[in-house]
Symmetry: C2
Subunit: 323 residues, 2 copies
């Protein structure tokens, strides 16, 4: 569905800001509490006292992250789920969200209603309250940014805190998310919480830019990573996509963005069959060991050493937003 | 300064996301703490335990809120100050901010550096830590959204909580902010905190859309407001602007946006000379009584009854973002 319309009566700029905010509040229903805890005051007073607060912020832009083919309800849900995945990556639990909308004058009201219905369902499912935000008119870009607040676990899962010898793990299957998973994924909140609480786990993050790129961000200072390309769990969609792209499926698993799986490291001393047994007792979600953190051999930057039958001719790079 | 450049080496899309984030962190210096409390992890863990959290979100869009004539450092500062004014309106104290940037490919790196230097100075001045955010590329719109978190006072200043008989007050002088005050204003944080703590004050908000529009938002349910147009404090800039616009200065004071002053109500029983004496002992900022909350005479919507020598021919409306 195209988010813009030529029918002036259906355009957002026809109804004025006050009426628009009143419609948004109605569309959001019970996930939008009354002021001062929700929309309607200068700021939102949050009705919780949290030991350790955690915050993240993510955006969706028309033609970059969604297009005319995307169901607006899925766009609304995806905006929240991207942020939920960031909290999952730290092991945190979601609480409150603030939304900013950038709307060109011709934005269609029925597209917006769809967007908000998806956002509402998703917020309701994950127990998130939409407490405030901002609406601005833009020239051309339709974009949304969402800030998600949550409660941190006792020890948050962080990047770069692994050590040489730790093994590298990933949840689920990788690659080809453009065929559907970039919209249908479920943020790994329960898994993230469990990993943050496990003393065996030394670092973690979510996969959003592609395994090869994200691994570099996970890699601790003065270390490098060894990646066993034969161990990487490849999704069916990566295989399907490979028939069109004429790239091998492993290429998609390494470089495709938006997997929204968790990437984490397990301390060398805990890297035992018990760890995977404990995991399997908790979750149906698959966890696969794909490599190891190693000591850096020279003064160069964090690098991936590829092992296995796939030999990349150049260093694989994940999605770079500005190139 | 124009935020875009044709010189490809000076364009933001040339340097890639990782390098851009590393520059932003450098530009922000000590207002950007290291991860996991700042930029660099999936989410930011906030190192505070706050009794009552408060949150607000506001945006700035090129050609709507700033243009080629605006110093980029003032744009960066204004983004934060708009949000600080929202916290001031509730009587809250600022703590942490998250920033989302929407950047067209041709955004100039030197303009961005200017923007971040202004944001940094302002954050430093108000003790705000920039703990995270998001960067996305857009097609055409250059826009920023900022979420500001703070600590709420014991009782927040809220809208619509006044009563019939309460007097209406405003800080500073109104109108003509487009001539400079929309950039140079100082958020009324100390004043807002004092008002929130005063048992005499029954409601409050900041003026962003123009007095006439904002008064409607302050007006309690089943009430109306009486406004004495002769009492409204008119700024020098409103008088200057009036010579060009050929509208009377009072028209600018009523309808111009971006005053960033505080509008509040004082309980009828406390509306005594003592209140203004106490205020004057605390602040150099002027506070002026401009009207009264009255009982609604009929079932109609919140309405302003104008008194004084200026007789608006129609109901004055403040800035409507989507018209």
């Amino acid at each position: 569905m195209n988010p813009f319309t030529d029918q002036t009566t259906q355009q957002v700029h026809q109804i004025g800001e006050r009426e628009l905010i009143s419609r948004l509040s109605r569309w959001l229903g019970d996930v939008s509490p009354p002021p001062p805890r929700g929309i309607g005051d200068d700021a939102a007073e949050l009705g919780v006292s949290v030991e350790k607060l955690i915050a993240t912020k993510d955006a969706l832009v028309y033609s970059k992250h969604f297009d005319d083919d995307t169901d607006p309800a899925l766009v609304g849900a995806k905006l929240l789920k991207r942020n939920l995945s960031d909290l999952a990556a730290m092991g945190a639990a979601p609480l409150h969200a603030l939304l900013a909308c950038l709307l060109p004058p011709s934005t269609s009201l029925s597209w917006l209603r769809g967007f908000f219905s998806g956002l509402r369902s998703c917020a309701s499912e994950y127990g998130v309250q939409l407490v405030g935000g901002d609406i601005s008119s833009s020239i051309k870009d339709l974009a949304f940014t969402l800030t998600l607040l949550g409660e941190a676990p006792e020890t948050s899962l962080t990047r770069k805190t692994g050590h040489a010898g730790d093994t590298i793990w990933v949840t689920g299957d990788l690659g080809g998310s453009i065929l559907g998973k970039h919209l249908s994924f479920r943020p790994r909140l329960a898994e993230g919480k469990w990993l943050a609480n496990s003393p065996s786990v030394s670092s973690g993050m979510d996969l959003s830019d592609g395994l090869a790129t994200d691994l570099i961000h996970l890699c601790p200072e003065s270390c490098q990573v060894e990646l066993d390309t034969d161990a990487i769990p490849i999704s069916k969609d990566a295989q399907t996509l490979s028939q069109k792209s004429l790239k091998p499926p492993i290429w998609h698993a390494l470089t495709d963005g938006e997997d929204y799986e968790l990437l984490f490291t397990v301390r060398s001393e805990d890297n035992s069959p018990e760890f995977i047994q404990e995991w399997a007792a908790q979750f149906e979600t698959k966890a696969t060991c794909i490599g190891k953190v190693i000591t850096q051999r020279s003064a160069q930057e964090a690098t991936i050493h590829y092992h296995g039958s796939y030999a990349p001719t150049r260093e694989e790079n994940g999605y770079e937003h500005f190139r």
